[in-house]
């Protein structure tokens, strides 16, 4: 399944390169808008009163790049502190993470930094981390300055965007930026699809190989 091409085959664009599958996890304080970002990205919807996530929601979404197709398996985690200890189940083996904070709440930015630190320490060393300052539509109540977050992101090698799940601002863009940054080399070739809905259990020690590509 990995490679149906014969020796004489050259890509002619029709099969549009390969499909890479990546596990992406959303982390951040509760009520910063993780589920809303996913809902906006996957279904193009926004609910003013999004229910609190108690668990880890799972959805998939595909993004087409120029030469590859990236399929995200998205794990949207519970933000409440009481569930903090369960988060490693979801970020372990993830190739990408979006750490979300609320630009109108300084505490959530502090919490985001803690998440970034935890990921840097415990997640896969090659994980691509994006920082999302959500609720940009409430910029008039801003408590976290754009420059402050940008500087922090630069220092830590994070992608950074201010987003709004409500207005859709930068929502696709941040996922697209992650998709572009993820490594898609041949080494990542494996079986896509069978990783669907899968979480790393005890058998899967450590992070999975950086990607999961297949044609």
């Amino acid at each position: 399944m990995a490679n149906r091409t014969g020796t004489a085959q050259r890509p002619n664009g029709q099969t549009q390169g390969k499909i890479c599958q990546f596990k992406l996890v959303l982390l951040g304080e509760s009520a910063v808008g993780k589920s809303s970002l996913v809902l906006r990205f996957v279904k193009g919807q926004f609910h003013e009163y999004q229910e609190s996530t108690i668990g880890a929601a799972f959805l998939t979404q595909t993004i087409c790049l120029d030469d590859t197709t990236v399929k995200f398996e998205i794990w949207d985690t519970a933000g409440q502190e009481r569930y903090h200890s369960l988060a490693p189940m979801y970020y372990r083996g993830a190739q990408a993470a979006i750490v979300v904070y609320d630009i109108t709440n300084q505490d959530t930015f502090g919490r985001a930094k803690t998440w970034v630190k935890e990921l840097q320490r415990q997640a896969s060393p090659t994980i691509v981390i994006a920082l999302a300052g959500n609720k940009q539509d409430l910029a008039n109540k801003r408590m976290v300055e754009y420059e402050e977050a940008q500087t922090y992101a630069d220092e830590n090698g994070l992608l950074f965007m201010e987003t709004s799940a409500k207005t859709a601002m930068n929502v696709n863009d941040i996922f697209l930026a992650i998709a572009k940054k993820l490594p898609k080399n041949e080494q990542n070739t494996g079986q896509a699809g069978n990783a669907q809905g899968r979480r790393l259990t005890e058998g899967d020690t450590g992070p999975r190989a950086a990607g999961n590509c297949c044609k």
């Binding site: 014969g6 549009q16 996957v42 990783a195 899968r198």
Partner: protein, 834 residues
């Protein structure tokens, strides 16, 4: 088959994978002990790779209209455990079909008739086939997951079979990924017109039988006879080497020579690249493409078929190259069919063999599966019914049309015997065979073969327009003249931007589909709170898991990272996994049973849906203190019943900070004293089990204290004593001393020594206290029936309790021996501290 049955048959087949073939179905089957008008079952016999299984399907409609109307009720493998029989019912037009599988029995009512006869015959046949081949039923495993809960249990016995390897996860998910990919491919093909446009390509096809000659002449006059450089060349030769070596070893230096000659001869005004070169003995086919199109050629594959000597050798036959140019599949076949005037039927057969045997090992596999096919070569059909002289005369008069009526190929094609749906352009050139070498003169040798159009080019497919079809008289080195045809062919070219849009759109739709088909459930509560959890007084709460999605949801409570169980030991979840059909619910009972000393219980359960999300359920509650789970050293420091003890007092007792108030725990004394006074003569004191409520009353009497006398029968009090000794935090003989005690068990003095040296005062006193009480019991063995051996073996496991509860007791005998010492020897006061 009746048409209605055929319809249902198709629907039933759709319920299964393509490789799982529905062999037979029986409609309108009812369950014998079910409701009366319940004839909505469909018995279905399914085969997968020679292994058969019977599926009982339930239809939600009288007449199912889609496979989603069907749900699988039971799956019964046809292996050695399967048997069936029919039982007629007197005076009725139906029979009872009884199916047995291991301990399960299924009974169905089926109407007598053709359908039931056929169905029974199929089962008998299937059973025979199953038993005669080593069958593997792993393919069934995925269906057990889709059955509803009750039936699942009755089928679980199947898992006992040794040959039943369970790879459910892998199978189910692997399937999904294949489906997704083939689905995408299929959908893309359907929407191809949206992202492709037809573009004309010039294809130059040439064929020449070179009669074993080396290439001594330039091929320019043939291959470069057109003004504009063609986009693609397909050049076929026959008889490039007539030597035995070529025939036997299929190896010839001529291949490279002719190929070089071709590359030198093709159009000079463009750069070309070889795509593929296919050769069998003397037949050679080169497909060459203009450089600018090279990157759009893909899935190139070739094959050869010999139809010569023995029907297999390569002196005759065909060589072919297939490829995709942009989005159109092309196939070029160069053939050399059987010779001699009379052998036209042999030629027809060769053609059929080439079609049947040419196999590219890739999709599309056969010649006919290609959108465009170009068929060229020395087809070897001759002119019949005319003498050499007549032919030559007609040619001199240039009456080609008249002559073509006698062409065998035209005749055979008209009769549908060869190249049936191929097209050939009008022939305006003279026959290309047979010439005297290095001349334009037809055969003047003794054999004087009449001229013939042996060398031909035909095509098949849409959007092909022939521009020219001619022979090339200039090339004289062979007894054949080369022929060429130029085509303008419509190739469907992908518009990258439009393709990307369609592709992306399809992926989005599939994402949407995939997300919609994720298992979805809701739980009625994410927080389960227990109030005042008491020692060994189980409490339970129910949570309801409702399937709110569109697919069956397989749920399971799963372990947290680095934990080996899915919940704490004080909790039981029933059931901890299962499958819920859409719209249905499952009650899950959470039962708390406290057997250790905890202030609070607190756990987060992870409810996982296979292939979907996780939900967290928090279980919490406060616990009530009890003397049963404390340590001896705490108990001897508490003055009042534990529930009346002040928090500070209790904590300092727990931390061994307060003074020792009693030599043995109050609670222990109360129980033993009660038994001493009321139970010494009770028969089977420790053997009968008390009512749970009775034990709870005694527990509360001990924990709360009371003016009332100790409630309960002597047996209940005795059981409470055993419980207390079994659950106190550290056994009377602590874990770390048990091994040495057991080792010393054969010698009382050693045991005594150990007790004095190793045990602390509280434990030693308690131990002696219990043993003295047991000695009292032994004194009354006439009444109570207890011998020292019995008591020793009973209390050995309690006083030297194992670390892991509920496991098989370890070294019971050694423990009993140890205790026995203290039941039959004098427990002098020296053992008891002041």
């Amino acid at each position: 088959m009746l048409s209605i049955q055929q319809d249902v048959y198709n629907i039933v087949q759709a319920k299964f994978l393509a490789a799982e073939i529905v062999k037979s179905i029986h409609l309108n089957v009812s369950v014998v002990d079910g409701p009366l008008e319940n004839n909505n079952r469909i018995l279905t016999l399914v085969e997968y790779n020679k292994s058969f299984a019977l599926f009982v399907l339930v239809s939600s409609r009288v007449q199912p209209i889609s496979f989603s109307d069907l749900s699988i009720e039971s799956v019964i493998p046809l292996d050695q455990n399967f048997s069936f029989e029919t039982e007629p019912v007197r005076g009725q037009n139906y029979v009872i079909l009884i199916i047995r599988y291991k301990q399960n029995r299924y009974e169905f009512k089926i109407e007598i008739g053709k359908e039931s006869c056929n169905f029974a015959a199929e089962i008998i046949h299937a059973k025979e086939v199953s038993l005669n081949s080593s069958t593997n039923f792993t393919w069934l495993e995925k269906y057990f997951g889709t059955m509803n809960q009750t039936n699942k249990n009755s089928n679980s016995s199947i898992n006992d079979q040794n040959d039943f390897v369970i790879i459910r996860d892998g199978m189910a998910q692997g399937q999904a990924s294949i489906n997704r990919e083939s689905m995408l491919k299929y959908q893309l093909k359907l929407r191809e017109p949206e992202f492709t446009q037809k573009q004309e390509f010039t294809i130059f096809v040439g064929t020449w039988n070179v009669n074993g000659q080396p290439p001594t002449a330039s091929l320019k006059s043939w291959l470069s006879c057109v003004e504009t450089p063609p986009d693609l060349y397909a050049i076929g030769f026959q008889e490039i080497d007539l030597s035995k070596e070529a025939f036997i070893f299929n190896d010839t230096p001529r291949e490279a020579e002719w190929q070089k000659s071709v590359m030198d001869g093709i159009h000079p005004n463009a750069k070309y690249r070889l795509v593929a070169l296919s050769r069998l003995v003397g037949m050679q086919l080169a497909v060459i493409v203009n450089n600018q199109h090279y990157q759009y050629v893909k899935n190139v594959s070739m094959d050869t078929v010999g139809t010569g000597l023995l029907g297999k050798m390569g002196n005759k036959g065909g060589v072919a190259v297939r490829l995709e140019l942009h989005n159109t599949s092309l196939c070029f076949v160069n053939c050399h069919l059987a010779a001699h005037v009379d052998e036209f039927e042999r030629r027809n057969q060769d053609y059929k063999d080439i079609n049947a045997r040419m196999n590219f090992r890739r999709n599309p596999q056969a010649i006919k599966d290609h959108e465009q096919v170009y068929w060229l070569g020395d087809l070897n059909y001759r002119i019949t019914d005319l003498t050499n002289l007549q032919v030559k005369t007609l040619l001199q008069r240039n009456e080609v049309t008249t002559l073509l009526r006698s062409d065998q190929l035209n005749q055979q094609r008209e009769r549908g015997n060869v190249l049936l749906d191929y097209v050939e352009g009008d022939i305006a050139f003279h026959p290309t065979y047979k010439f005297d070498l290095n001349s334009d003169i037809y055969d003047t040798s003794e054999k004087a073969r009449p001229p013939a159009w042996t060398d031909r080019i035909l095509w098949r497919g849409k959007g092909i327009h022939q521009v020219h079809y001619k022979s090339h008289m200039e090339l004289k080195i062979s007894d054949h003249k080369p022929v060429s045809a130029l085509f303008k062919s419509e190739i469907s070219v992908v518009d990258q931007n439009r393709y990307r849009r369609v592709h992306e759109d399809l992926l989005k739709k599939m994402d949407k589909h995939e997300n919609e088909f994720l298992p979805q459930v809701t739980v009625d509560q994410n927080e389960v709170v227990f109030n005042s959890v008491k020692f060994r007084e189980p409490q339970s709460r129910e949570i309801i898991i409702a399937n709110t999605g569109v697919v069956p949801a397989d749920f399971e409570f799963i372990n947290k990272l680095n934990e080996s169980t899915y919940c704490k030991d004080w909790l039981r979840i029933v059931p901890y996994c299962g499958s819920i059909n859409p719209g249905e619910k499952c009650d899950v009972r959470l039962e708390v049973n406290l057997e250790t000393d905890l202030d609070n219980i607190d756990d987060i359960l992870i409810l996982h849906l296979k292939g979907g999300k996780d939900m967290f359920i928090t279980v919490s509650g406060s616990c009530q203190k009890s003397c049963f789970t404390q340590s001896l050293s705490t108990l001897v420091r508490i003055q009042v019943p534990i529930m009346h003890s002040k928090k500070e007092d209790f904590n300092s007792a727990r931390n061994n900070q307060s003074p020792i108030l009693y030599s043995v725990p109050r609670e222990l004394w109360l129980l033993v004293d009660h038994l001493y006074r009321h139970g010494l003569k009770t028969r089977d004191l420790f053997e009968s089990s008390a009512l749970h409520e009775e034990l709870i009353r005694i527990r509360d009497w001990l924990d709360y204290g009371s003016q009332d006398p100790l409630p309960g029968t002597p047996q209940a009090v005795a059981e409470t004593l055993v419980l207390l000794l079994s659950y106190i935090k550290e056994p009377v003989i602590p874990f770390e001393l048990q091994d040495v005690c057991i080792a010393a068990a054969s010698n009382f003095q050693n045991c005594r020594q150990l007790l004095i040296q190793k045990l602390n005062d509280i434990h030693r006193t308690t131990f002696i206290y219990i043993c003295m009480f047991l000695q009292e019991l032994v004194k009354h063995s006439n009444d109570n029936g207890y011998e020292p051996k019995t008591l020793a073996s009973l209390f050995g496991d309690i006083l030297l309790r194992d670390q892991i509860r509920n496991a098989k007791p370890q070294a019971s005998r050694g423990k009993a021996n140890f205790v026995y010492n203290f039941l039959v020897n004098d427990l002098s006061s020296s053992l008891i501290p002041k």
